[in-house]
Symmetry: C2
Subunit: 404 residues, 2 copies
């Protein structure tokens, strides 16, 4: 049995016309003699409308009831897809998570799939059936509905692919694949044909909003090949796979950029254990997301400078929190709005010397000043003026031959 898991995102099933297209895509796989498991998100907009309703009831709406509420969205989409497939003459039916069941653990709104009972679905597949499974949801040990958190339908698809040992898992969405950088920021960005889980993780957490990092991590841990492609245009998408599957002479796979960041520097921080924790604990408590953190070596062994980035919208609160926590010792606080983090990502850089130098030189040639630098095994990030973002993306695309 060559089995494929096809997952359709909210925009792919956003209207009845689009659901008809989805059914046509499924039909093609059946023609090629594939066994198909379909996983669907809610029709686009539905989940947000439901969440809005819950907020109108009260701000701290019950998390268990939230899961009951929003899980109805996938139920609707799956019944419509299955109905359409039946109309086309296929043996198909919707499978709600509790009917399989898909078992989860963890808190409501943020559960994780721990087990999928396979018997019923396997039998249905043997009857040439096309199961249409609700993504994003499961049940817990006390039979209550749970959800996997935003983007959880991808996690459903990937774990279904794992449990049923699928040949591949295709994530249909409203973009054609993963690009060397966000095409909204650089029109000439190129589609990447193959990318490693690790690179995709860096791309995702840095702003490529195609898949949630947690889903990519699920794919990585379970070694599931994931294809990301458009349900609207017939073009090959991007394969996300393990490093050893990639034969690629490119050093850099992609470049991500952030926007609306601000840089905060604490100058003259006492260089002793526990200082960083003292700074970041109150920020974390107040749900302020700290991104890039850089600390310079203390020249005299007593003081150091600590720089981090936050979303500019959090700047006011961040200032207040730091000032209110008087036990944080520092000499001076400096802020800068309007910075952008540019990161070049690629598994190739580990084995290629001089990548850092090439990046810095390319930026210098364009007179782009680098404020802060941070590196990891497969990523180099720099902080620059936001106004130079596009220029930086362009010059780095050229430098690392990403247009080709």
């Amino acid at each position: 049995m060559k089995l494929v898991v096809l997952k359709f995102g909210g925009t792919s099933v956003g209207t009845i016309k689009k659901i008809e297209k989805v059914a046509d895509i499924i039909k093609k796989f059946k023609k090629k003699k594939y066994s198909v498991i379909v996983v669907s998100s809610a029709m686009s907009g539905v989940t947000n409308t439901l969440i809005k309703k819950s907020k109108e009831i009260c701000e701290n709406f019950s998390e268990a009831e939230y899961d009951v509420l929003v899980s109805s969205g996938e139920q609707v989409a799956c019944s419509l897809i299955a109905g359409r497939l039946q109309h086309l003459g296929f043996n198909s039916r919707s499978w709600l998570a509790w009917q399989i069941p898909i078992l989860t653990s963890g808190p409501h709104k943020n559960s994780r799939i721990i087990k999928i009972n396979k018997n019923k679905i396997i039998n249905f597949l043997k009857d040439d059936g096309i199961p249409v499974i609700t993504g994003f949801q499961g049940i817990n040990t006390v039979n209550r509905v749970t959800t996997l958190g935003r983007g959880g339908s991808d996690a459903s698809a990937i774990l279904i692919a794992k449990f049923f040992d699928a040949e591949k898992c295709i994530i249909y969405t409203d973009v054609e694949g993963v690009y060397t950088t966000d095409p909204n920021k650089l029109k000439k960005a190129k589609k990447i044909s193959v990318i490693s889980y690790e690179e995709m993780l860096e791309m995702a957490s840095l702003g490529a909003k195609i898949m949630q990092p947690v889903s990519i991590q699920d794919a990585r841990l379970n070694r599931i090949d994931v294809y990301v492609r458009s349900s609207f245009v017939k073009k090959s998408g991007t394969l996300i796979t393990k490093k050893s599957n990639i034969i690629n002479n490119k050093i850099i796979t992609g470049i991500s950029s952030t926007q609306n960041d601000s840089k905060v520097t604490l100058i003259g921080v006492k260089d002793k254990p526990g200082v960083a924790a003292a700074i970041f604990k109150p920020l974390s408590k107040n749900l302020i997301n700290v991104d890039m953190v850089v600390q310079n070596i203390s020249p005299n062994g007593k003081e150091t400078d600590l720089t981090f980035t936050i979303k500019t919208e959090d700047l006011g609160r961040t200032k207040k929190i730091i000032k209110d926590n008087r036990h944080i010792n520092f000499r001076k606080l400096s802020f800068e709005k309007g910075v952008s983090k540019i990161s070049i990502i690629g598994v190739g850089m580990v084995t290629t010397p001089g990548v850092t130098f090439r990046m810095f030189q390319a930026l210098a040639h364009k007179k782009i000043n680098i404020k802060v630098i941070s590196t990891s095994e497969i990523k180099i990030s720099v902080l620059i003026d936001k106004k130079n973002t596009k220029k930086a993306l362009e010059v780095l695309h050229k430098e690392f031959k990403l247009y080709k």
Copy 2:
């Protein structure tokens, strides 16, 4: 444990504001130390929107998937109500039919509740919990979602009241109760404080659209006292109960009227066995709903005249069907559009002579011609010109002292 089942219809939970009101109603019962089970319909309009989607997929949309689709509506309403009750400090949660489970038999879209597992709900009630149960739905023996057909949430409430041995069952809706006749047709119609199941059945099937006949029948067979009242105004509603509970000096309880009816008469029909069946079989097959049927005694023992009423919108098709079925023998076919059936209903008439006469005389005084007459134990129906409907309702209200 004094237990009450509170059922809220679609208009009662149509907006977040209304759901807040519903929670306030429930709160009052808790203050009075009642154990409360809540049953809810989908928010008004939701079910129709979902049905529309299914029809856009295809006209003959899968009935099993239809049930999955529309049952999502009650899921949404129940989670919102439970969330609101939690916000008010109550121990509450939604119970989806499959979680209890509520077991049904019969075909999809038109199943019947056969069993409700009580354990979980009883335990929850013991913890002072307020279960909010999805109306209108259940599961069948193969764990698939089923629905009970239109108005099925009432049936859910009544059978839940039965299985849990509730003291009473209150159906909250957008009207204040059952009226002596449709208040849209006669402004001065009075609210009925108490009515028997049998009278309510006649009222319901004759056009009082408050409860589906099947639900009233469920209440009657299980001897459940059902209160119908408004969720918007604080006024006593109508109690539907068994005849022996009713102390009432009124002969007539209510008067119903239809509109958009047409009268069809087959003159000179052969008076032999199987003739009526030969006429009504093709009509039934074509889903034409035949209402009042009257056949006069054949004067010569060979021929008879057969009259029946149908909805005027079905007149064209009815003509065609009768003409196409040439084996139906008759001499002449006559039609009349714009007739109205007026029915007086009351268990009191069985023991009161002269009711028929008083009805006919009252109509005659107003020069309203009676075209056709049909009677049952607790009902007398006449066919009149549609234009006389209001006049007839008025004079009959006076004659039988229903304004008092």
